[in-house]
């Protein structure tokens, strides 16, 4: 497994996938921090003006904002861009062997196929871990610069926990990409299949869940809890599968705290999603790695 994992890292590095991912994540973190800083500056400026004009006696809304508020936009970028990139990385990894006849060479070596596939997932996991670690450091520095003081122990631990959660989600999407690369014959379809699944998870299922609670669209009117009927039935199916929504809920609790307790069910949903997909990769039949070699 270690041989395959190290090979995965080397091969990915050579086609510049990690460099692209690091660049993208650093960009996302920087944009998130910039938007946070701009929001703070703008709101504080307006607040100062309003206060000077004697139009308010309320405190500055940014006084009590936790430092990790400035990382909140990263959550959306991870869902919108990071997951797609992870899926593309997975597809690329699976197709690398299939596009050439390398799979046939690998499969005639005395190594169990499951060890090969597990090694591939470990390699992808390590690659994503490096990317997320680098972007977490950049995020820590950015937040410290914006707030004017180094992020404390609690904030640093929360940022690390968010990085871990992000790694878990992205590993799931990387596994989804690997499955696309293994099970779909054509390269374009292999890319398309995980992207369609991503779109369903990120958009369609949450939309169905929202549509199933139409009152929730009429902010600030709180949605009425439903315990029966069509809306309830649709929610019952779609909510557990809305993995990106669970990621957002868990991220929010990690970064900014949660008044209603930590959303363990959401964390479990993300973990289960990744576990199922990684296991699905590892138990893939050898014939999917190369296709049957007919004449």
């Amino acid at each position: 497994m270690g041989v395959v994992a190290r090979h995965e890292l080397l091969a990915s590095r050579r086609n510049r996938a990690p460099q692209l991912l690091v660049g993208m994540f650093v960009g996302m973190v920087a944009v998130s921090s910039f938007i946070g800083w701009l929001t703070q500056t703008t709101v504080s400026g307006i607040y100062g003006q309003v206060l000077a004009d004697g139009l308010t006696t309320q405190p500055n809304p940014f006084v009590d904002v936790v430092p990790l508020f400035f990382a909140r936009n990263t959550v959306i970028y991870v869902v919108m861009i990071g997951t797609l990139m992870a899926a593309a990385l997975g597809v690329q990894s699976a197709l690398r062997d299939r596009k050439a006849t390398v799979a046939d060479l690998v499969l005639t070596r005395p190594v169990p196929v499951r060890a090969l596939l597990a090694g591939r997932m470990i390699g992808l996991g390590a690659l994503l871990a490096v990317v997320i670690a680098v972007s977490s450091v950049i995020s820590w520095v950015s937040i410290s610069v914006i707030t004017g003081s180094a992020l404390g122990v609690d904030g640093s631990l929360r940022l690390a926990a968010f990085g871990l959660l992000t790694w878990l989600l992205l590993l799931g999407f990387a596994a989804l990409g690997v499955l696309g690369g293994l099970y779909v014959t054509r390269e374009t379809s292999a890319l398309l299949a995980p992207f369609v699944t991503w779109a369903v998870i990120a958009f369609v299922l949450p939309q169905l869940g929202t549509a199933a609670r139409p009152v929730s669209l009429l902010n600030p009117v709180a949605s009425v809890p439903q315990t029966s009927g069509v809306f309830h039935a649709v929610s019952y199916v779609t909510v557990p599968l809305s993995i990106t929504e669970h990621f957002k809920t868990t991220s929010s609790a990690i970064l900014e705290g949660s008044s209603g307790g930590f959303p363990l069910a959401s964390l479990a949903a993300v973990a289960a999603f990744t576990a199922v997909l990684v296991v699905a990769v590892v138990v893939t039949s050898p014939s999917r790695l190369s296709g049957e070699a007919g004449e």
């Binding site: 080397l10 596009k99 006849t101 060479l105 005639t108 005395p110 049957e292 070699a293 004449e295």
Partner: protein
């Protein structure tokens, strides 16, 4: 008593309802260079894919270097080297990086000395740090041989090894095959549709037609029966049938 490097009994493979290989009974003695001749689609690659454990037989049994290809597939894999037709590698990696990966998969923990030895054997030194993506077809084929023999397998399978090579590449590959057999004692199973390739390299010959082995004898006996090139060619076409 003759020991067989490869032995099959009723080895069969079907793709759905299509029979790709009819029950094959074949023994290849240790130290032979066996050439399996046949037109495209005759069942040569299917045979090699079965013997290299890439395909699972739908019937019959086979052993390679004494290991059953189904019951002890890992044991069989540890004793074989394989060069597929049109072999490709990780183009972004260097020759040394590619070979190091395959060596480690073959259980060679510190492969650099072995890689140097094999590249020396193949007269292919000085390219270690070049990316394989820039290699010519002939160079790739030599890399293919190198990865196949890194672990000094007793049995080597070559699928159409001279396909697409220029005359110089064909000659180099032929010399490598003969030297491997003579100096390392490697048993070689070679698929080809080129009659001249078999007569210049092999010690025994088989002809497969529409999934069925229709001729198997030593090269000497075959040439005794058909002493001229024309007679042998006529016999081959009579036996192998017309190309599809």
């Amino acid at each position: 008593m003759t020991s067989f490097a490869i032995s099959t009994h009723g080895l069969t493979h079907r793709y759905g309802t299509k029979v790709a290989l009819k029950p094959l009974n074949l023994d290849v003695a240790t130290g032979e260079i066996f050439g399996l001749l046949g037109h495209n689609g005759a069942g040569k690659t299917t045979t090699v894919s079965l013997l290299t454990t890439l395909l699972r037989p739908t019937g019959g049994t086979a052993t390679v270097a004494g290991h059953d290809i189904v019951a002890d597939a890992r044991g069989a894999r540890s004793k074989i080297g394989y060069l597929p037709e049109n072999v490709q590698f990780y183009d972004d990696l260097t020759l040394a990086e590619n070979l190091r990966f395959f060596a480690k998969l073959s259980g060679i923990p510190k492969p650099d000395a072995r890689i140097a030895e094999v590249l020396g054997f193949l007269d292919f030194e000085g390219h270690d740090h070049e990316r394989v993506g820039a290699f010519s077809k002939g160079m790739r084929q030599r890399v293919g041989i190198a990865q196949a023999i890194l672990h000094r397998p007793p049995v080597l399978f070559l699928d159409e090894p001279t396909s697409g090579l220029d005359p110089e590449g064909v000659r180099t590959l032929r010399q490598s095959v003969v030297r491997l057999n003579a100096e390392w004692g490697t048993t070689i199973f070679m698929n080809t549709h080129l009659l001249a390739e078999v007569t210049r390299t092999c010690t025994s010959i088989g002809i497969v037609r529409q999934g069925e082995l229709v001729h198997h004898d030593s090269l000497a006996a075959t040439l005794g029966e058909y002493p001229t090139e024309q007679a042998l060619e006529s016999a081959y076409f009579d036996t192998a049938g017309s190309a599809a």
